[in-house]
């Protein structure tokens, strides 16, 4: 559907996008995720034709669109700023792409009401954009980008600037709309929760390069490199060299961590990442557990459905852990943290 091949964009000495390649399947919802300045917006704008790449190719449905102007590409783009035309009504905004693409009046009228209905804004057709709330504006913006039925829908951090509750609701709305119209979608965000919750696949970018392309679960549990492991979710890290391979032991200072890693060879340097939910915080340790370290609870935060804790080990390492509901330990308690070797990510 969409193929991006070796995309590169330089601004003077700055390399914003450095050899990015990926493919999207028809109907897929994919996300470009990365910190600010990672090149995700530049990539998206290159696909839309608003940024002229320094190198590489982009194919849309098999057709090379690399050198085509935006108006010949048939893509839909939702802006972070919403970018609704302030001198037009909601209906005129939605009809704009249809008019510019030469649809007949009857189709225009039908599509405008169809897509306004889809985003539940049909009762606002004659309003001016500045009479709408931020969330409503973004719905109209979505209808406008979809109405002329582009081959691909691009969304550039569309939920930034909305409050948290609205953001989560819009998240579901966008997924629902995507499923309803079945349009190939590329979504840009710096918010990993958004990316994990919405996407079929996530493309993690950093420093203008692809770090990993994977399904959300795989990204979280099987990150391919330290950047992804650290960027997605929380984890406690133990770095050191592999002491032996059967069982695999990683020497982290004075501490020996049992891990499972078929690829690790003796003497090589690795980092072990342990997710908070893999860690058990207890006052009655299981003596047979391979990884069992004692420490002190230095911080705990009750969040209703769970409690997040930080446990400081004897050498100062802070372990992030999470417990269901109300844990039976509080700040200052001596506890033991335990985790299974199979739960450890070794990179």
């Amino acid at each position: 559907m969409l193929e991006v091949q070796n995309l590169r964009k330089e601004y003077g000495d700055l390399v914003a996008v450095d050899d990015i390649s990926f493919e999207l399947e028809s109907g897929e919802f994919a996300t470009l995720l990365g910190p600010s300045g990672c090149g995700k917006s530049t990539t998206l704008h290159s696909i839309a034709g608003l940024v002229e790449p320094t190198g590489g190719n982009m194919l849309l449905d098999g057709v090379d669109v690399t050198n085509k102007p935006p108006y010949e590409r048939n893509v839909g783009l939702v802006f972070q700023s919403k970018a609704l035309f302030p001198h037009m009504t909601v209906a005129e905004n939605v009809s704009y792409g249809l008019r510019m693409n030469g649809f007949d009046e009857e189709t225009i009228e039908r599509r405008v009401s169809e897509y306004l209905e889809l985003v539940e804004m049909e009762t606002h057709a004659t309003h001016q954009p500045d009479e709408l709330s931020g969330g409503q504006q973004q719905r109209v913006s979505l209808a406008r980008a979809l109405a002329y039925e582009p081959e691909i829908l691009l969304l550039d951090e569309p939920l930034t600037g909305l409050d948290r509750v609205l953001r989560e609701r819009m998240r579901n709305e966008i997924i629902k709309i995507h499923d309803a119209v079945d349009v190939t979608t590329l979504y840009v965000t710096h918010d990993q929760q958004e990316a994990l919750a919405m996407s079929d696949r996530v493309i993690v970018l950093s420093d203008g390069r692809v770090q990993q392309i994977a399904e959300p679960e795989k990204l979280y549990h099987r990150p391919e490199n330290p950047f992804v492991a650290e960027f997605i979710g929380k984890s406690t890290q133990f770095s050191g060299s592999i002491e032996s391979t059967d069982p695999t032991l990683l020497q982290n200072g004075a501490r020996t961590v049992h891990v499972e890693s078929p690829e690790a060879t003796q003497g090589t340097e690795h980092t072990a990442y342990v997710r908070p939910e893999s860690i058990e915080v207890t006052t009655e340790p299981d003596e047979t557990a391979p990884n069992s370290f004692s420490g002190t609870v230095v911080h705990s935060e009750y969040l209703g459905n769970r409690t997040e804790m930080e446990v400081e080990l004897s050498d100062g390492t802070v372990v992030d852990a999470v417990a269901d509901a109300v844990p039976d330990v509080t700040n200052g308690d001596r506890v033991t943290v335990q985790f299974e070797p199979s739960e450890v990510i070794v990179l």
Binding site: A48, G49, L50, P69, P70, Y71, R73, N74, V75, G76, L77, F79, S81, A83, F85, P86, H87, Y96, G97, M100, N101, R144, A145, Y148
Partner: protein, 278 residues
């Protein structure tokens, strides 16, 4: 309730607000309203027939000059608006050297109009560069077209600045959105940039229309004998035939016409609303 923190403003403490207002009103009264009142009084003939000067002022030769002025302003204004839009478009979208380009637009304003018009005259003269290249000056010298050319060149900065200001305020995302939705560059100009720059066009249009309608150096230097505008007539009746009363009557009539046009324009398009809607 919170008490507002007192703002220390010694200047305001010393001078009450009424004095500020009175100063402003006083300045306008002294240098605008009073002279206009004197003009109206001077235009009347208290010795004999009260409106005699107006009767003379409404004779063919002066009506022709009035018509000429409005005609030239009406031709000059749209040319200037179009030109100013493309200059602004170029400065905003086609070049990185925005400051330099704006500076170049403003640079001619540092040169006196008389010198610029004489320059254009020399440029179009029979032994000037235009004639030596094209063998003709295209009838641009000492003609209505010459006057329009002079006014367009003279007043371009006044048209560029407001339009540049409006156009550069148009959100780039709107332009990008239009383009992604299938609008060619020309369609984007027509459907997005121009409608959103209306305040600039209104300001620029009013400014250059009034300036052109009151021009007198350009017709004097670049126009032919039949291109005299009302300002030339007023100036001549004042300084050549020493009829200050006729000059006053002409001025009052012309000011009245311009104000009527302004009111008519305003009822068609609420200027205040357009300009506040930036």
């Amino acid at each position: 309730m919170f008490r507002s923190v007192p703002v220390v403003d010694t200047f305001r403490d010393r001078l009450p607000a009424t004095i500020h207002v009175l100063f402003g009103i006083g300045f306008i009264a002294l240098f605008l309203l009073l002279p206009i009142a004197l003009l109206v009084i001077n235009s009347l003939n208290f010795g004999g027939e009260l409106l005699e000067n107006y009767r003379i002022a409404l004779s063919d030769v002066y009506l022709r000059a009035i018509f000429n002025s409005l005609f030239i302003a009406a031709v000059t204004t749209p040319i200037l608006l179009l030109l100013a839009f493309f200059v602004s478009y170029f400065i905003i979208f086609q070049t990185e050297r925005t400051r330099l380009m704006l500076g170049l637009v403003l640079l001619p304003m540092w040169i006196a109009y008389i010198i610029r018009y004489l320059g254009i005259q020399l440029f179009l003269y029979p032994n000037g560069p235009v004639v030596s290249v094209f063998d003709t000056n295209f009838g641009l010298l000492f003609s209505t077209a010459g006057v329009v050319l002079g006014l367009v060149s003279g007043f371009l900065p006044f048209a560029v600045l407001p339009i540049y200001n409006s156009l550069s305020g148009v959100d780039r995302d709107l332009i990008d959105a239009s383009s992604v939705m299938g609008a060619t560059r020309l369609s984007t100009i027509r459907h997005v940039m121009v409608p959103l720059s209306i305040p600039g066009f209104v300001t620029a249009g009013l400014l250059v229309f009034i300036l052109s309608a009151g021009a007198f150096l350009a017709p004097d230097i670049l126009g032919g004998p039949s291109d005299l505008m009302i300002a030339n007539m007023i100036e001549r009746s004042y300084s050549e035939i020493f009829d200050i009363n006729l000059a006053a009557a002409l001025a009052v009539i012309y000011t009245g016409i311009l104000l009527t046009l302004l009111v008519a324009f305003n009822s068609y398009l609420n200027i205040g609303e357009v300009l506040s809607d930036v």
